[in-house]
């Protein structure tokens, strides 16, 4: 019994990811029993499961449980992502219905893998030890590799899947090696024990800790698509079916950053002096490479891929600062980024469907005349990603940059601001194409209530989170503060009394 340790299992704490995983299995079983045409309706099962998981997360907020022998941490930080991630996946499901049918993707596998990927993202957010984090990362990534290659008739999709798989597997190796070295140096895979060892014994400068830290940075750098580990991103984003790209740009970023922020900013905070320089360089490079390369893109999916790299750079600016004030800013930024991106991809899916066209910039010409609502929505999302004042993107950027400035990262903030200016060009190009260029008259109209609903959700979220930021900022603060409690066990105990 001694060897096993106290086995405290809190089933309630794994309710949300459990629901998603169970729904994935149910989807798989039900869908495989149906004919190909019928199986498209399993999307509704997936949607129900994701909504149920989001509700379960809401019900569980306020808990603070460390369970499964320290492998899972259930606090407000976890709850924040347990709510956000299923909602994002649900939005993806909403705009997938007709798209999956139109592309002839295997519906059962599509929805089941989407749910499995969601489970992985949620596990990453709640992981209390490095192995569970790795498990979540793999569950999420492997599902995404398959989904990227799902449009079998399209060679670009296969290319996307293969490139994503090869580089993703390679980066996973880095991460795992880093975890192994950290385990070797500290004697534990539990994040809390690792943090205690690093703090107490000042083994910060032990070469194994530093090497492990470096490899973990490389591994996460790949997953969040930070330059110079970004080379897979444009090809994978462009080739994958658009709804899958949305999942990659939003869900996977959320999962990876949830894990990255928790590991680095909370548990490895004592090593800030060691990792902040590396993150500084990653941030500066990601922003510059992402924004400059995005300028030259003619394909919007490719442009959004580079834009995703740039946004990873902005988030890394905040992480470089590393102070606890920046935590809420990062969570808030992720919130705004997620909905603006989901919306942009939803518009692309709608355009592909309605016009039977691709996702080139030219395909959007004259969209304002043919589909005024789609064009207006796309303009909104582009403005938010650009960082225009009333929208979520602006508040997030402003928040992150101001904290970074307070932490005296003046040069980094200057680079970030210049980059923001550069980014305005390529986001504005989309708006110009939609409103100021003549496109071919396209008559085909498809009415898709679920897609329009997804668009409405994303658009409303982008506007509301930007206009009324306070409830979201305070939610982010509460989430981050609850994750940070582990750093101050004494004060945390005092507060509860």
């Amino acid at each position: 019994m001694q060897a096993l340790g106290p086995l405290i299992l809190s089933w309630r704490s794994v309710l949300a990811p459990g629901i998603v995983a169970l729904t994935a299995v149910v989807t798989m079983l039900v869908g495989s029993g149906l004919s190909e045409d019928e199986s498209e309706s399993v999307g509704w099962i997936a949607l129900t499961g994701l909504v149920a998981a989001a509700i379960a997360s809401l019900a569980a907020s306020g808990d603070h449980i460390v369970t499964f022998g320290g492998s899972l941490i259930i606090d407000d930080y976890t709850a924040f992502f347990y709510l956000l991630i299923p909602v994002c996946s649900a939005v993806v499901v909403l705009f997938s219905f007709d798209y999956v049918a139109a592309l002839g993707l295997p519906a059962t596998e599509y929805y089941a893998l989407l749910l499995f990927a969601t489970t992985g993202m949620m596990l990453m957010a709640g992981a209390g030890d490095l192995i569970v984090m790795f498990l979540g990362l793999e569950t999420m990534s492997i599902s995404a590799y398959v989904m990227a290659a799902m449009a079998q008739r399209d060679p670009k999709s296969s290319e996307a899947g293969l490139k994503y798989f090869l580089l993703g597997a390679f980066s996973t190796g880095f991460l795992l090696y880093g975890i192994a070295l950290l385990y070797g140096a500290t004697g534990s895979i539990k994040l809390e024990a690792v943090a205690q060892m690093v703090r107490k014994h000042s083994i910060a400068l032990s070469p194994f800790v530093l090497l492990g830290l470096g490899l973990i940075l490389v591994g996460f750098g790949f997953k969040v698509a930070a330059a110079p580990f970004h080379v897979w991103t444009p090809d994978a984003y462009e080739g994958a079916p658009t709804s899958v790209t949305a999942l990659m740009a939003v869900g996977i970023k959320l999962g990876a950053f949830a894990g990255f922020i928790r590991v680095l900013l909370i548990y490895l905070a004592p090593l800030h002096a060691q990792w902040s320089g590396v993150l500084w360089a990653l941030a500066a490079l990601s922003m510059t490479v992402g924004n400059l390369a995005a300028l030259a893109q003619e394909n919007i999916k490719r442009m959004l891929a580079y834009s995703a790299i740039a946004h990873a750079g902005y988030i890394l600016v905040g992480m470089t600062a590393g102070r606890s004030e920046v935590g809420p800013a990062l969570l808030y930024y992720l919130l705004g980024y997620a909905f603006a991106n989901l919306g942009a991809f939803a518009v692309l899916v709608a355009v592909e469907q309605a016009q039977q066209s691709g996702t080139k910039l030219d395909d959007l010409s004259g969209l304002a005349r043919n589909h005024p609502m789609l064009a207006a929505a796309m303009a909104l999302f582009m403005l938010s990603l650009m960082g225009m004042p009333p929208l979520a993107g602006f508040v997030g950027k402003f928040y992150i940059f101001s904290v970074a400035l307070e932490s005296r990262y003046v040069w980094l903030v200057i680079i970030a601001t210049l980059n923001s200016v550069v980014s305005a060009y390529y986001y504005a190009r989309v708006i110009v194409a939609m409103y100021m260029r003549e496109g071919a008259e396209r008559q085909a109209q498809t009415r898709q209530p679920t897609l329009l609903f997804a668009l409405a959700v994303a658009a409303l979220a982008t506007v509301i989170i930007g206009l009324l930021p306070h409830p979201y900022i305070s939610a982010s603060s509460a989430a981050y503060a609850s994750a940070e409690q582990v750093l101050r066990p004494a004060t945390a105990a005092l507060q509860t009394k």
Partner: protein, 117 residues
């Protein structure tokens, strides 16, 4: 240091023996090259066809299926060893695990993974 000395000695000795054998063999050993010796070894049969052959994808699917259930059994061993300590919780967890695996098997069957026609 002294505790590791025998290990170091053993390592050095092993390296020496292997090195000696390889070197002596390279110097003294007779050499003859002919086409038969250069052939790929296929258990004594004369080799036929190209090595760059396509395999039916069914082999991979069967291999994956085998892996899934092989790994399942491996995971059941530690549970079997600690079954008393884990008690009811362990039973439930193992049950969930087996049910999930069965779901995988049902899926594989429905997708015709064991259909070899």
């Amino acid at each position: 240091m002294t505790t590791w000395f025998p290990v170091a000695l053993m390592t050095a000795f092993a390296a020496l023996v292997v090195g000696l054998m390889v070197t002596i063999n390279a110097i003294v050993g007779p050499r003859s090259r002919d086409p038969v010796k250069g052939e790929a070894f296929e258990c004594g049969n004369p080799p036929s066809g190209s090595a760059w052959r396509r395999f039916s994808v069914h082999f991979y699917l069967t291999a994956i299926l085998f892996l899934v259930f092989d790994v399942e059994v491996v995971f059941l061993y530690p549970w079997a060893v600690t079954i008393r300590q884990l008690g009811a919780t362990g039973l439930v967890e193992a049950g969930i695990f087996i049910v999930l695996m069965l779901a995988g098997l049902i899926y594989a069957l429905r997708r015709g993974m064991l259909d070899w026609s």
